[in-house]
Structures are given as structure tokens and as C-alpha cells.
């Protein structure tokens, strides 16, 4: 019985933990029909996640390369850009 209680407790904790909605996010911008990943923004959870997906991200300095270090076809000047979260790569 004790083992069953421990097992069920563990399952419950894991299940509840998995209810947290978290995702890795990045700032993205479309140039000539192709979307480029500008920078990694880290992990956001729950309300913070909803908030950043809704509000987007403001680029404050001109960006010349992608998050992977590749050159962008044209620089991205300071402006509001989209934030994409939870994408598989």
C-alpha cells in the first residue's frame, strides 16, 4: 500500500509539473518572405509566455547576423519584431 501511495504521489507531482506551460522563445523577423531567427530570448512560462507572445520584442540595436551567426540578407534596424516560442528545430 505504501508503495502504491508513493507511486501515485510521484505520478501526481510529475503530472502537475507538466501542466506548467513553458517554452523556449526567440525573436524573429521576415526578410524577403523568409523568416530569420534574430536572437534567443530564453524560456518563458505561463503568464510571461502569453505576454511575450502577445507583445513581441523590441530590437534596440541594429542586427546584422542571425542567432546562429549567419549574415542576414539585410540588417534589422531597431523596431518591434515577432516572438516565436515552442518551435521544433
Amino acid at each position: 500500500m505504501k508503495k502504491i501511495v508513493v507511486f501515485l504521489s510521484a505520478v501526481t507531482i510529475i503530472s502537475l509539473n507538466s501542466c506548467n506551460k513553458c517554452a523556449e522563445c526567440h525573436a524573429a523577423h521576415e526578410i524577403n518572405g523568409t523568416e530569420y531567427e534574430l536572437m534567443e530570448l530564453g524560456e518563458y512560462c505561463d503568464d510571461d509566455l502569453s505576454s511575450i507572445e502577445a507583445s513581441g520584442y523590441t530590437v534596440t540595436d541594429t542586427i546584422y547576423v542571425t542567432a546562429d551567426g549567419d549574415s542576414l540578407p539585410s540588417p534589422v534596424y531597431p523596431q518591434d519584431v515577432e516572438v516565436h516560442c515552442g518551435e521544433d528545430h
Binding site: A28, G33, T34, E53, H84, C85, G86, E87, D88, H89
Partner: protein, 736 residues
């Protein structure tokens, strides 16, 4: 009478027709109460507390032909004679309004045990069903699968689970078969229009899923199984408990599965390249299911409930303007939740009551299904599509036996369906709407020695009404359908001809769609003037059943008027048009008349000199000259199975190898690519480990040669994303 004062005791003996000796371990199963027993070493069996009316017993044993017998309440001490047969001819069929062995049916229907379809394990239920001639899998990776019957799928195929109609927004190409292989015993597939019994939408056929039976009389059964698949590092785990006590029966099931992104094949056998995985093809899910049954003298009731949860990654998604296949592949993978994805919650509830009288039988079913579908396209926190489809249905059927030759079955089905979009959904592809169905049918059946005949007609109406108060859509559709068939089945020859019709009112998504379907990366435009699709099929069957050889030829032609299909929109310069806002290609819905024709040829050879050897081959042919998309490739499916009998502790029961050849497909829609031929080799073995409680195992490899191929019915073919490569599986199951 039993000690409880209910029902009766039916008992008897199963004997070999040739020798008169009792046959041990024969399954004697009552179709009405859904439980049974097994004969002892002398062939004796006893079923206590059976109901007080004519019951139907299915009698099955290895190396013998199955038998379906009607037992009247005053009969007991039955002697059932079974004939030797090295080929199991057929399973029982219940989907066509009564219980029959397949060979006596006047409908084009095929019944298979799920376990038999999985002799070489398949990754999902639809893949397993694709072993049946004429059945295919319309897939999006290995998590989203839709069964295709003779070239028709989605809204043209009706799915019924124990008589409960399942609805899951099947209009969407990426909205898969909302069923998990949990506690399902058998699938019956009616090939072709079946509106006579199932009403609107059964235009292409019916998938009827029959649950596992309850535990044998006064027995308990605990079963657990686990399976691992190497290709997507998948795990499948199931557990079930069944209990049968006097006139009460109970079953509970639980299961979950998880797949990572699948690996594609690699044609470089001797010089393999680094593994590539299809991005975001991961999926997972689970289910809880329960059933409780009770009977008294002339009443049987069953209540069933199932909760299903699926989380499907949607592969084939990119932000690149001009993507190539590398945009959808990766050299690494992880199981974390990523978008775009679907989250699906289904509730299925059914209450069934059967009443039996001297010459009459009444079956009443009440059902409720709820399908909550959320698709996360652009944002993790807000669903792009959020729809809840609730369906309340009834099904009443009355059967009257006039005499030993004739019976009449009359029935009525109705459905109240409601589609509601979530208030925070970003896209409303299908508006809030109600659908009301009402239909009634009557079917006359006759049996004369070797002959079976049936003829019936039905009237249906459907009302489709959007929930907007002003400027809404409100239209009624109606249909008259019939089915007539005649069959003759002797010991060695079965012939059958069947003519049937079906109709399908256009779905609201086809009538009113005008928006983005992110999961399919399309902008869809419907047409509110569409008429109902109407199908007429003629099906012919010729089967020879010799002791060691079975040959089946089953041609058909299905003419469909007002067939609705999608076609890509092009501008005046012959360039594909895009939606200005989303940038997605625009697809219009159109109607045309279409003809599907083809057939199946199947051979099962079991050489007399090698009773341990089974050679099975079937050819599925389908043609359509109307340039429609997603017409299945013709296919040859060959299986060789070797049975073993050994007394060792570690037993190998059978070894199977399968060779499937898919012919190239050049009959395509204008915007669709042709598909090349490909071939697959699968192998598998089944056995058991003797212990106090038997542990069964199965082990095998799908796509043994790791072929890199793209199936014509893969939705991912548009992006040239291959189907899964080699997959090694191992499964253990324990029954206590």
C-alpha cells in the same frame, strides 16, 4: 435455471466432425452477453446464467472452421460438430444489423481481429487496418492517420465504435482517426456506400470497431502490455482488468503512448548517412476506458465510457518562403512540446439496451461524444483553432422473425450535433453551427439453404444551421437510399452481388470555409451552393474455399455524383494565388462527378505437405479517371507465415515475413505530384514464455531495408518528406 433464478444453463460438447472426439480449448462465446467460456479437455463446456431467449454462440477452435449457431432457450446438452479447416475462413460480423459469419453476408464487409492484423506489429491502428485489401492509410507522419476505403476517406467514411458514431472534425486532412488501439478486439469494414444502415455520410464505407469481450463467465482477467519502437523511440503501455460475476460484467482499460520525431529511411544501405528526423512529428496520448454490462432474463444493458487524449506535433511546417525538404528535417530530436501542434480531448459515452422477445429483438442505443480540438499554430499560449464538436445520438432497431426464412429489420437514427468555436481562438475556419439528422430504414432478409438475400430502403434528412442570428446559413438536405444483395455460400464456393447507395450532405467546412487552416498550410474557400454527394456502388464477390486454398475475387464500381474536392487556385498568369494576409496558397472547393472502380484479388495457400506454412497474397486495384487528388497506389501485399509447435519454455509460435509492393501513381490532380513505386519488407515473430502466467512476446522489424520512400497518401509528400524508415519493435504482454 441458475441458482440466482436468472436465465438458464446452456451446456454441451464440441466434437470433431470426422472422429466424433471432443475438442479441447474451444472458445464458446455468446454474442449477446459478450462473454463466453472454453471447453475442457473432453470438449465439454457450460455457460451458466445465459438469458432466456434465443442466443447466438460463436464456436471457434484452432484447425477447425468457426461456427455460428442459434440456440433456443429450451436447448441444452448441445453437441456441436466442427469441421477441420486449415484456413480460417472468416470472422463474425455484427455491423450489418445482425450476426453472421462473413461468408454469409450479402454486404461487402470484411471482419478482422486486430491481433491478426498485427501479426507483424504496426505502429497505429490505421496501419494495421491497411493490411486488409482495399484499405489504405492517409497519413501525416506516424501520429495522424485516417483510414481510406477504396479511395475514400475523411467525411466519406463513417466510424462506429460498438454502434456509437464517432465524430472528430474529420473534414480536416490533418484530423486523424480519433481511436486508440485500447480494448478493441475486431474491426469490421464495410467497403462502399452503406447509408441504408448508417445514414448520411456512410458514402465510402464504414469502420466498425468492436470492443474486446468481457471476461469469461465468473472469471477475472488482468492484462498488461508494453511495446517499444526504435524508429521514433516510442513506448506504448496498456493495462486492463475485467471481471465477470453471474449476470454482471465489468472492464476497465488504461493506456498511454509517446513517440519522438520519426527517422526517415536511407537508401544508402552500405554507406548510410547520418540519421535524419522529421521535425515536429512527435506525438503522444492516452486513454481511459470502461464498460459495465448486466443482463436478466430478456434484457441486456451495457454502458461504455472512454476518455481519449492526443497531442500531435504537425510536421511540414516552415517559415521559409521557398522551403526544400531540408527545412523539415533535423539531425537531432527531443520530446519537448513544440508547435504547431494539436491537442485533442474526446469523451465517448454510450448506453445500450437490448430487449429480447419470442420472435422480436429491440436494440436502443443512446450516445454522446465530445471532441475538443485545439490547434496551436503561431503561439504556444493561444490556440489558433479551438473547436468543440458535441454529438448526441440515438439508434433504435427492431428485428422481427416471421419464420425460419424471413426477418425484417427496421430502425431509426438521429443526431444533434453542435460545433462551437472557443472565444479566444485566433481563426474561425468553421463557424458555430448545429446539425440535426433524422433517418429511418427497413430491411427485409431471407435465408434459403445456401442462399441469403436482403433488400431495404431508407430516408434521411439533415439540417445545417449556423448560430449567427443575422446573415446565417440554414439549409436542409435529404436522401433516399437503398441496398440489395444476394449471396450463395456452399462449402467450397461463395458468390455475392450487392448494389448499394450512399449520400453525404456537404459539410459546413465545404459550404462556408473562408479562412486559414494553419495545420495544412492552406487558405480554404468553400461554396454554399453545394449539393449532396450521392454514390451508387455495385460489388461482386467470388470466393473459393478449398481445404488448403482460398481464392477471392472482388471487383466493384462506385459512381459518385457531386463529389467535393479541393483544387488550388491559379491566377491569370497561371501562378498559384496566395491569401494577402496569411501568405498561404488558396484552395477552392469544387464539385464534379467521379467514378471509382477496381477490386481485390486474394489468395491464401496452405500446402497439405506443410501445414505449418501459410502463403497469403492480395492485390488491391483502384482507378479513377477524374484527376482527383490522393488516389491510392495499387498494391500487392504478400505474407509468408510459418507456425511452430514446441514444448520449450521459451516458445516461438510463428514467424512472418511480408513483402509489399506499391505501384507508381500517375493519376493525380493538376496540382499534385506523381508518386514512384516502392517496396517494403517487414518481418516479425510471436511467441510466449511459459510461467505461472503466460508472457507473450513479439519482435520484428518494419521496413527492414530502411527504404527511403514517399507514399502517395502521405500528406507530407507535398514537401517531399519521406515516410518512416526502419523500425525495430519489441512487445511483451502478460495475462493473469
Amino acid at each position: 435455471m441458475s441458482h440466482l433464478g436468472y436465465g438458464q444453463i446452456v451446456k454441451g460438447k464440441v466434437v470433431d466432425n470426422n472422429t466424433g472426439e471432443g475438442i479441447p480449448l474451444v472458445e464458446v462465446f455468446c454474442l449477446e452477453t459478450q462473454n463466453g467460456t472454453t471447453s475442457d479437455t473432453d470438449g465439454n463446456w457450460e455457460l451458466e446464467n445465459m438469458v432466456n431467449f434465443q442466443i447466438t454462440l460463436l464456436v471457434k477452435a484452432d484447425e477447425f472452421d468457426s461456427k455460428l449457431i442459434k440456440v433456443k432457450n429450451q436447448e441444452s446438452d448441445l453437441v456441436i460438430q466442427l469441421e477441420h479447416s486449415h484456413i480460417h475462413l472468416d470472422e463474425v460480423i455484427v455491423s450489418t444489423s445482425d450476426s453472421k459469419l462473413q461468408r454469409y453476408s450479402t454486404f461487402p464487409v470484411e471482419s478482422r481481429k486486430i491481433a491478426d492484423l498485427n501479426k507483424i506489429e504496426q505502429t497505429n491502428l490505421t496501419d494495421a487496418m491497411s493490411n486488409i485489401p482495399g484499405i489504405y492509410n492517409f497519413s501525416t507522419g506516424n501520429g495522424i492517420a485516417k483510414p481510406v476505403i477504396r479511395g475514400l476517406s475523411g467525411m466519406r467514411v463513417l466510424t462506429s465504435q460498438n454502434g456509437l458514431r464517432l465524430e472528430n472534425q474529420q473534414w480536416g486532412a490533418d484530423h486523424g482517426f480519433a481511436v486508440l488501439n485500447l480494448g478493441i478486439d475486431r474491426v469490421e469494414i464495410i467497403k462502399g456506400p452503406s447509408s441504408l444502415i448508417y445514414g448520411a455520410d456512410a458514402l465510402g464505407g464504414v469502420i466498425y470497431l468492436a470492443d474486446e469481450p468481457y471476461a469469461n463467465y465468473n472469471k477475472n482477467e488482468l492484462k498488461a502490455s508494453t511495446k517499444f519502437e526504435s524508429n521514433s523511440m516510442a513506448t506504448f503501455n496498456k493495462i486492463s482488468f475485467k471481471k465477470s460475476k453471474d449476470n454482471l460484467r465489468f472492464a476497465v482499460y488504461g493506456g498511454f503512448f509517446s513517440r519522438n520525431n520519426y527517422a526517415i529511411g536511407d537508401s544508402g544501405l552500405l554507406n548510410p548517412s547520418k540519421k535524419e528526423y522529421v521535425v515536429n512529428s512527435k506525438n503522444s496520448g492516452g486513454s481511459f476506458k470502461t464498460a459495465i454490462g448486466y443482463n436478466n432474463k430478456n434484457w441486456i444493458t451495457n454502458f461504455r465510457y472512454q476518455l481519449l487524449y492526443f497531442q500531435n506535433g504537425l510536421p511540414g511546417h516552415t517559415h521559409d518562403a521557398n522551403p526544400d525538404v531540408s527545412s523539415f528535417l533535423s539531425n537531432s530530436r527531443n520530446r519537448s512540446y513544440t508547435i504547431p501542434a494539436q491537442k485533442i480531448f474526446n469523451h465517448l459515452a454510450q448506453w445500450e439496451n437490448k430487449f429480447y422477445f419470442k420472435n422480436d429483438e429491440v436494440i436502443a442505443q443512446l450516445g454522446f461524444t465530445s471532441n475538443e480540438l485545439k490547434e496551436y499554430g503561431e503561439k504556444v499560449s493561444v490556440a489558433g483553432i479551438d473547436m468543440t464538436l458535441q454529438n448526441t445520438s440515438y439508434n433504435v432497431r427492431w428485428k422481427h422473425n416471421f419464420n425460419k426464412h424471413f426477418e425484417i429489420v427496421s430502425g431509426s437514427q438521429g443526431m444533434l450535433q453542435s460545433n462551437t468555436n472557443g472565444q479566444y481562438a485566433e481563426e474561425i475556419l468553421v463557424p458555430d453551427a448545429n446539425f440535426n439528422d433524422l433517418g429511418a430504414f427497413s430491411l427485409l432478409k431471407g435465408t434459403f439453404n445456401l442462399w441469403n438475400i436482403q433488400a431495404g430502403a431508407r430516408y434521411d434528412q439533415r439540417r445545417v444551421k449556423t448560430k449567427e442570428v443575422i446573415g446565417g446559413f440554414d439549409k436542409g438536405f435529404s436522401g433516399v437510399n437503398y441496398s440489395a444483395g444476394i449471396s450463395r455460400s456452399s462449402k467450397i464456393l461463395t458468390t455475392r452481388i450487392n448494389a448499394s447507395t450512399g449520400f453525404r450532405p456537404p459539410h459546413i467546412s465545404e459550404l462556408l470555409a473562408d479562412g486559414v487552416h494553419h495545420a495544412t498550410m492552406q487558405y480554404l474557400v468553400g461554396d454554399s451552393n453545394f449539393e449532396s454527394e450521392r454514390a451508387n456502388q455495385i460489388d461482386f464477390y467470388l470466393g473459393t474455399h478449398f481445404e488448403h486454398l482460398e481464392i477471392v475475387i472482388n471487383p466493384f464500381i462506385n459512381q459518385i455524383n457531386n463529389y467535393i474536392y479541393k483544387i488550388q487556385r491559379f491566377d491569370n498568369n497561371n501562378q498559384p494565388e496566395r491569401d494577402d494576409y496569411s501568405g498561404l496558397f488558396i484552395f477552392d472547393m469544387k464539385q464534379t462527378d467521379a467514378v471509382f472502380y477496381g477490386g481485390d484479388i486474394a489468395i491464401h495457400y496452405h500446402p497439405h505437405i506443410a501445414h505449418w506454412l501459410h502463403l497469403e497474397s492480395n492485390l488491391s486495384l483502384l482507378s479513377n479517371q477524374d484527376s482527383l487528388p490522393f488516389i491510392p497506389q495499387n498494391r500487392v501485399n504478400n505474407t509468408i507465415k510459418v507456425d511452430f509447435k514446441s514444448g520449450n519454455k521459451l516458445k516461438l509460435n510463428s514467424l512472418s515475413a511480408q513483402y509489399i509492393y506499391f505501384f507508381d501513381q500517375n493519376s493525380v490532380a493538376p496540382y499534385e505530384k506523381t508518386s514512384s513505386a516502392y517496396q517494403l519488407i517487414n518481418i516479425g515473430c510471436n511467441g510466449s514464455i511459459s510461467s505461472k502466467n503466460t508472457i507473450k512476446y513479439s519482435f520484428g522489424i518494419n521496413n527492414l531495408l530502411n527504404i527511403k520512400y514517399i507514399d502517395h497518401l502521405s500528406r507530407l509528400k507535398t514537401y517531399e518528406i519521406p515516410n518512416p524508415g526502419r523500425n525495430i519493435y519489441i512487445k511483451f504482454s502478460l495475462t493473469i
